[in-house]
Amino acid sequence: MVRVASETLNSRVPEGHVDQIWDKHRFNMKLVNPANKRKFSVIVVGTGLAGGSAAASLAELGYEVKSFCFQDSPRRAHSIAAQGGINAAKNYPNDGDSIWRLFYDTVKGGDYRAREANVYRLAQVSNNIIDQCVAQGVPFAREYGGTLANRSFGGAQVSRTFYSRGQTGQQLLLGAYQAMMRQVQLGKVQLYARREMLELIVVDGVARGIIVRNLVTGQLETHTADAVVMSTGGYGNVYYLSTNAKGCNVTAAWRCHKRGAYFANPCYTQIHPTCIPVSGDYQSKLTLMSESLRNDGRVWVPKNAGDSRAPAEIPDEDRDYYLERRYPSFGNLVPRDVASRAAKERCDAGFGVGDTNLAVYLDFRDAIMRVGEDAIRKKYGNLFHMYHKTTAEDPYKVPMRIFPAVHYTMGGLWVDYHLMSNLPGLFVLGEANFSDHGANRLGASALMQGLSDGYFVLPYTIGDHLATSELPTVPEDHPACVEALESAKGRIDQLLSVQGTRTVDSFHRDLGQIMWDNCGMARNKAGLESAVGQIQELREQFWQNVRVLGNGQSFNQSLEKAGRVADFLEFGELLATDALHREESCGGHFREEHQTDEGEAKRNDEKFNYVAAWEYNGVGEDSTLHKEPLSFDNVPPATRSYK
């Protein structure tokens, strides 16, 4: 039985009509006097789109910022890998877009499990993001006449996605990084690269600092500040194989959770339909083929199971363009959850292609015939190159083989309208928060959210916190700091002292398999219950038998990985527990027990129209469920249809 808290969570969404609250609220929030800003310090963990943009913007306002990342340079945050694009409601193509439509599409795309007020604000500031990035020198694609170009993404019938070839994340991140590096030069941002956050310091219930490990020297450092911002990305690597970079982790968020921050909707994970399939058991990660490819690529499998002809030799009448068949109005551009399940359905039914029969075709033949190879190269050249490198097949000639893979996590630390967690002083941005995407994120909306949070939301809301809170100085020898430092140190010593026989990676692979088999594209009660048990068992084995060589006082990648896997082994159980408790299907969370006759997700609005925010009670202890009820006053919940 799930322990449920009696009080519901207060999201602090101001009263008023959804299209006016942000403006009014900006007026109502307290300001920090310009001359006083330099007296406040802010820690920003993470230098992706969310953290990079936040650090730059806060420093520009005058705050003293400390910025942390585990990579050797802030420019390498995982946002760099985003390919396809970023949404905005500019309506430049004149095709009927508006803030309201972006808001509507995002709420619907999230399967009515997001907070309306946040989504509206996101749509509102989306246009400012594009302007800001252009001003920074981000080279967005343009038409011949010099105006900005757009492409289409899933879940929308307008063209609202801005892009830089297949490297949109790279260009946006470099824009934010450069803005931040300018503040480094000006002395307003102190940069701490190759630092891993291992603890949150909480003083009298307020987040006031962090403990980090210097990954080069192994030294633990205490950093205190007036507020702490987490922008540490998603937890997709709990599945071991995902499209995320190898270093992506849940550690920072999990440490906050263990110090009292609620973790919301951990079961909302996104499985992306178009990734390069697994090729062998040495596989270390999966490579995404951007959703933008579905603008021009058509997805199909042979009509006859086991048709072993080369794809080019299979004529159209023997091909099943199953997305176009099942969803005539959105066709290949249905949202990700829908496309992934449809691919799984075809493969499960025996129509999969390739060595493993776990793949479908993404075919550019028709587009190349229509516009020519050069035009396709210009749009997607680097993606085709990447595919070629990985598979040794030329996608200009042979259709890509693709399969769904773990890609993004909609769940994350719970935040209110101010992006502040239930722990005062702890703000959470970007993929790390439970976000504006409900149970399924639309393509090109994560970049939008990260930059919205960092450039245009946090800089206002953090001021309100700083201006209205008592924030006595916290010296580094404060008992709370000492305790957090000891706790981080104890954990490292513990990892090193096991001296077992199995490598960290072998545990991570096993965990990933449990998660993929039971908490993947389709979930059911028995599978989830067994996952909880298996994870507990694996965790026990880990602490008895993991082998971490070397010591804590030097550069030690095994130790880094061990700490992250140890946290995944705790977190995975919460993910499964959340999935088990949510007896409905919504977005990326598909419970086999809850589907329509046509195999589509079936929500239960009466019982599950809430955000599930979990409170930590100890390892292996049941967490307490806090509910934030959701209301949809503007986009009335309906069964999502893309037919």
Partner: protein, 254 residues
Amino acid sequence: MSSDLINLTLRVWRQNDPDSQGQFESYQLNGVSTHMSFLEMLDVLNEQLIESGQESVAFDHDCREGICGTCSLMINGQAHGPDKATTTCQLHMRRFNDGDTVTIEPWRATGFPVVKDLVVDRGAFDRIISAGGYVSVNTGNAPDGNAIPIAGTTQEVAMDAAACIGCGACVAACKNASAMLFVSAKVSQLAILPQGQQERSERVVSMVSQMDDEGFGSCTNTSECEAACPAEISVSNIARLNREYLRASLCGRD
């Protein structure tokens, strides 16, 4: 696809910390699938090392798809290995033959001190960017994105330069350990775009001066950098940097 297995001898640079002297260690690695990526091959080596009680080989990596610029290995004397326009993480073992000896070293340059084994410190690149590799525009100050049209062709040239992943292979490949390709890529991108005009002179002078301070060598136009660059940054950017620098010296800083 059949999975072909090959056996390799690896000569790997091992160095405990920046101050200690490093040396090559040889490891025999058998049964390597040719479908593996180069880094997956190193993962297998590391698993074996740990199982036999030896510390794993430290190497930098993150995205493993050629975009973050973290991976950085000299493979048989070539930065990022033998393939053109390919990062180490995108290199696959199908490029190697059974019985090959593969020598793996870190980037070697004064500007990139070794941290451990194959890991180096590329902080110098961050400092060069912070010297001026940006447009000084605070959040909230931007005009509409379409206010200044930029011809599609101009944008394409800027994007070609902006594609630099900051990996440092250009430095590693250059006999002078010059960072000109990296610096010129950012200078070019911003010199081409209208948004970068205001600080054009200031930028090139500060970035070049920081580059010199970091101990990178001078450019003698051998184009080894271009050949090694996984993002296909063209040496024409270096020519543009030189023009920009000259222009700045003639016109003074603006």
